[in-house]
């Protein structure tokens, strides 16, 4: 069953994922009301501890917390004071002394949420750590696919782009595999991480082969600095070989859907028209993001504090 922290999809089983998705379905309805607020987490304090800048994910967590009536505090140690020699564990302990009921952590380096969770009294939800995991993103992606396709099992999901540096890719690989989908990855060879096939994915360097028969295509955001290093030669070449447009989409199934964790580099990962129109479901993903985060906050912050649960260390 679901543990006390949400660090990664790797730690969940299929039943956990389904429970979170089912809870999110119920939460979605709150967003359709005129008064978008329920008293579920009234009196609870949620801290968004974002070491790494993020507008969208933080806003999504903040809105989710507020719709559940939690007191939401955003804590973003400035990169200057935090960079160099500030112990992340000191920061975490300081925060913990203020008795939050849940801490949402984002950090540019893999492993920080886990290590904070190891010392924190409050439960921790990972909002993205380095290239490790971004569990709420994968959950909202799975929710979106389940809504459109009415199932996940048996689907073919193709993830395209900078897999090496992508936490979104890792969380989705774990999630869709656990839910019974086939997962393919397609990327320029320097962006395929060593031993990725050990996770159970099929690896392609031909986009055409990777898209053949796909039900879901997920393009990843590519950072500009990766496009000027030695990973790929240029934006133009990346866009020509791994950018997705309507012509390339013909390789996939007729009812394929196109996803992207955002923000899209228009004309690079996705063509303009694919960014805005069906079969793109990008805005459904964003909408589901709030519902998923409400579900996660409800399931993790609504639980008994650590001391009431007996031996956990």
């Amino acid at each position: 069953m679901i543990g006390r922290d949400l660090i990664g999809i790797e730690d969940l089983d299929r039943g956990d994922i389904e429970r979170i998705l089912d809870t999110a379905e119920r939460m979605r309805e709150v967003g359709n009301r005129v008064v978008k607020k329920v008293p579920t987490l009234r009196g609870r304090t949620i801290v968004n501890l974002f070491f790494e800048a993020s507008t969208r994910t933080r806003a999504s967590f903040e809105i989710a917390g507020k719709r559940l009536s939690a007191d939401v505090v955003n804590f973003s140690p400035s990169s200057s004071s935090l960079k160099k020699s500030e112990s992340i564990l000191d920061t975490a302990r300081t925060l913990d002394a203020m008795d939050p009921d849940l801490v949402v952590v984002r950090h540019a380096v893999a492993g920080v949420p886990k290590r904070i969770a190891d010392v924190l009294y409050a439960p921790v939800v990972n909002a993205g750590d380095g290239a490790h995991e971004h569990p709420t993103q994968a959950l909202l992606d799975m929710l979106t696919v389940r809504q459109v396709k009415e199932r996940i099992e048996g689907l073919t999901v193709t993830i395209v782009g900078d897999i090496l540096h992508s936490r979104v890719a890792r969380s989705n690989i774990h999630g869709f595999l656990k839910m019974g989908a086939e997962v393919r990855i397609a990327a320029p060879p320097p962006m395929i991480p060593a031993g990725i096939e050990s996770l159970g994915v099929k690896v392609f360097t031909s986009l055409r082969d990777a898209l053949s028969g796909a039900d879901v295509v997920m393009a990843l955001r590519i950072q500009n600095e990766r496009l000027t290093g030695s990973y790929v030669p240029s934006i133009r070449e990346y866009s020509a070989t791994f950018g997705i447009d309507r012509a390339k989409l013909h390789y996939a199934k007729d009812d394929v859907i196109v996803m992207h964790p955002g923000p899209v580099n228009r004309g690079v990962e996705l063509s303009h028209e694919l960014t805005d129109d069906r079969p793109s479901v990008i805005l459904d993903q964003v909408r589901n993001g709030v519902a998923i985060r409400m579900a996660v906050l409800y399931l993790f912050a609504g639980r008994a504090p650590r001391s009431d649960l007996g031996e956990l260390d």
Binding site: E10, K84, S85, S87, I88, L89, D90, H107, V109, A110, G111, V112, K114, R115, D118, D129, G130, A131, H132, E133, R167, R170, P193, A194, G195, I196, S198, L199
Partner: protein
Amino acid sequence: MSRILVRGGRILDPATDRDEIGDILIDGDQIAAVGESLDARGAEIVDAEGGWIAPGFFDMHAHLREPGQEYKEDIASGGRSAVAGGFTSVACMANTHPVNDDPATTDFILDRGEHDSPARIYPIAAATRGLAGEIVTEMSALVDAGAIAFSDDGRTIQSGGVMRHVLEYSKLVDGLVIVHAEDCSLVGAGVMNEGPVSTRLGLPGNPSIAEDVLVMRDLMLAELTGARLHVAHVSSAVSVEAIRKAKERGVSVTAEVAPHHLTLTDEATLGFDTNTKVAPPLRSAADVAACRRGLVDGTLDAIATDHAPHALHEKDLDFVEAPPGLIGFETAVPVVLDLVRKGEITPLELVRRLSTNPARILRRPGGDLAVGSIADIVIVDPERSWLYDPAKGYSKSRNSPWAGKMMQGRTVATIVGGRLVYHVDKGVLVP
């Protein structure tokens, strides 16, 4: 000076292949007699029953942090930790502040070692000035001051041209050049071994080929120049094989391996413990197996700890920012005893790699139990179980991946120059 009788242990002397039960009598700073039922009149008795009696261990790769970073370690604390682990001699790396690249610093370290440390301290000088990889150090003056080898260690000389000159110049003093083999451009941003585990964890990978290409470069340069090369902490299967082949064709090369590279894989990093961050990184199970085979067949001559203390607040940083390294003196013996317990190596051959070989490579006393030799002796109980708590150890730092683990095998007593400097029941006794 006094007499000590080390009584009734399994005497392991690789220098003469002796492996038999007996006593060792020490008179002054020398071994006076080796045999059965020696006359102990007037001698202090050190009981070795059930244990091994071996020539003191010689750690040819450690960081003692003095001068400059005494908050991590100093020569006194490092020396105490060393003898508690059974090491009677320690060679310390040059990456101090200031760097040990001039005779005054070498002299300072030797002086501190003599006065503060129960273990013998041998400074390794930098191979290039300021560890900058550009200008060869004054090797002649450094050898005169007492430097026993040359190394830029973790600041690996990236330029093949400079390394060639370092090796050539070292021949002037018949010096040993020690290389920490990693090609920075292939290491990239890597912080752990590149492979399925780094991919799962999303941590930047440091591929073993970063080590391999530099090992191969330096083997070829050693072959070209005829200089004496020593490869530090070999961790990769391909590097082990490259060294094996180089030895077969007569290249003047020796090599060491660290206890962690013999026993831990990159899976130790699965919980993101920064105490498992080390350079070169913990590698795959296949690499560990290759290192063990290399140690057993003699490709890897010595076991060296790469004892690298870092303060708690430094290891509390995120995995990328935390400095690499772990402390190793007090855990080395139980950790490498794993190879004896699994039947891969005999006690005698293990002692050869902990003591005799490093002493011979560095051409310093110790490494044997002959009558008339210097009385540097360690007694090890290979069965004794204990819980390792770095806070109870002698190092100033606690960065160990074995913290909180049950250990099997422990150093019982350490004798340096005829003086009992450590006993497990009494702790470190001098200075």
